[in-house]
Symmetry: C2
Subunit: 261 residues, 2 copies
């Protein structure tokens, strides 16, 4: 399923083993288990952090239930709280897994040009204006496959990743209607990576980091040489790209149960 | 000043005489009085209800302070909470008043085509899809000057208005990116009027009100014959139109203090 959520009131995606913390995974698994009358465990493309939003998160599960997909969609629409929704559901071929079948994740971090109360929940006003062209140029050396340890935090809730290598295909600051946004596409992202890239961009803008030093900062891999972590609420997990082999088989419906196939 | 706010956490515009309730007027007057070192009282174009948003609300005040406008703007940007901002400030000619100089108010009520968590704070999902063309047609007899008592609630906090006549210049359901919105332009609006027009549109859609009965419902002026009140969060006060005579004199700055003149 494609899942959209407003991350503000969630402590991130990942369910925290029986603790009463409200997570997206916990909320979805609880409702799905109720609807399908069996214990559902979700796989997911990106385990977003507390406060981070998602427009095109993808989650998958296996069920023995014979309930048609359009009825599952209707039940979810009725039972989920207003800050999370399944926007699409599809039956996928054997072996598909939301996490392991994905080849690229796409994030957007939105920044504002001025304080905008009606946009402030999903975009950050950094008290400065960013130069999209100059920053895209400055970040060009970060494209390709590198160890991004300099831009990663240690996730206290998880084991450290086996390695810090990410293959970054796109890292562009582009103007949107109300400011500048960083579009980041990669096969994987480290903890806080996009937010640290944005925080570092504010330091570049303020002259605290010389753009010419970025390749060295990346190569040395010392977190303390990069900039601060931008707040979670500006970040949205936009999209996931899957291996070509995977296409829906059988029912494919929207969040209201209408056929899309 | 042009004021933008996210109405979610405010009990409407109007300050409630010393009560601890959080209002937009109270928040702005407190900060302005601090910045200008005198007691500031705001006039306003539209006293929006609890939960209603504003993108182009207009408020005016008189001050003896000699503080330049760009410094007032900067101070407001620094002191206001993130859910309200002054987007523009201008020095206006003698006699200008945000409320009494206005000739038209413009509201937009946004409805969704499907549950959308990332849009749910500023648009309503009514569990049905509306037909924009058919509803615009059905509401055509409401254009022009009429008594809109059938679509008005009694505001418990205020004296009832002297009369219910409103000159409605536009009342159109149009498609936006994620659904249908009602655009309502009139010289004035009664309490809950736009929300009741939207609630009635859902009843027309469900077949509970025959569109042919709308002129009679309007003429008879019985609130019970119209539909329910749509929730506040879908409504945004978009814009105010002023008499032509009024244009900024002197300083005119944006919310960050930059000159716009």
């Amino acid at each position: 399923m494609h899942v959209e959520y407003d991350g503000t009131a969630f402590s991130g995606w990942q369910a925290q083993g029986g603790s009463p913390v409200r997570t997206v995974q916990g909320t979805l698994e609880q409702v799905l288990s109720l609807v399908l009358q069996e214990r559902i465990a979700l796989g997911v493309a990106g385990r977003t952090d507390a406060g981070v939003h998602a427009k095109g998160q993808v989650a998958s599960f296996v069920t023995r239930s014979a309930l048609p997909l359009h009825r599952i969609a209707r039940a979810l629409a009725g039972l989920l709280p207003p800050d999370v929704a399944a926007r699409e559901l599809a039956v996928m071929p054997e072996g598909f897994h939301a996490r392991f079948s994905a080849i690229e994740r796409r994030y957007v971090y939105r920044l504002l040009d001025a304080p905008r109360p009606l946009l402030a929940r999903q975009a950050w006003w950094p008290w400065m204006r960013l130069d999209a062209g100059a920053l895209t140029e400055a970040y060009r050396p970060l494209l390709g496959e590198h160890d991004f340890a300099a831009f990663a935090a240690r996730d206290p809730a998880k084991r450290p990743p086996k390695h810090g290598r990410c293959r970054v295909r796109r890292l562009a600051f582009v103007r949107w209607e109300h400011g500048v946004q960083l579009e980041a596409h990669a096969n994987r992202f480290l903890y806080h990576m996009v937010r640290n890239l944005v925080g570092s961009a504010t330091w570049v803008t303020r002259g605290l980091i010389d753009p010419a030093d970025l390749p060295r900062i990346l190569a040395e891999g010392k977190r303390s040489a990069a900039g601060p972590t931008a707040p979670a609420h500006g970040l949205t997990f936009e999209e996931v790209v899957y291996k070509e082999a995977y296409a829906p088989i059988g029912e494919h419906v929207d969040g209201w149960g209408r056929s899309l196939s």
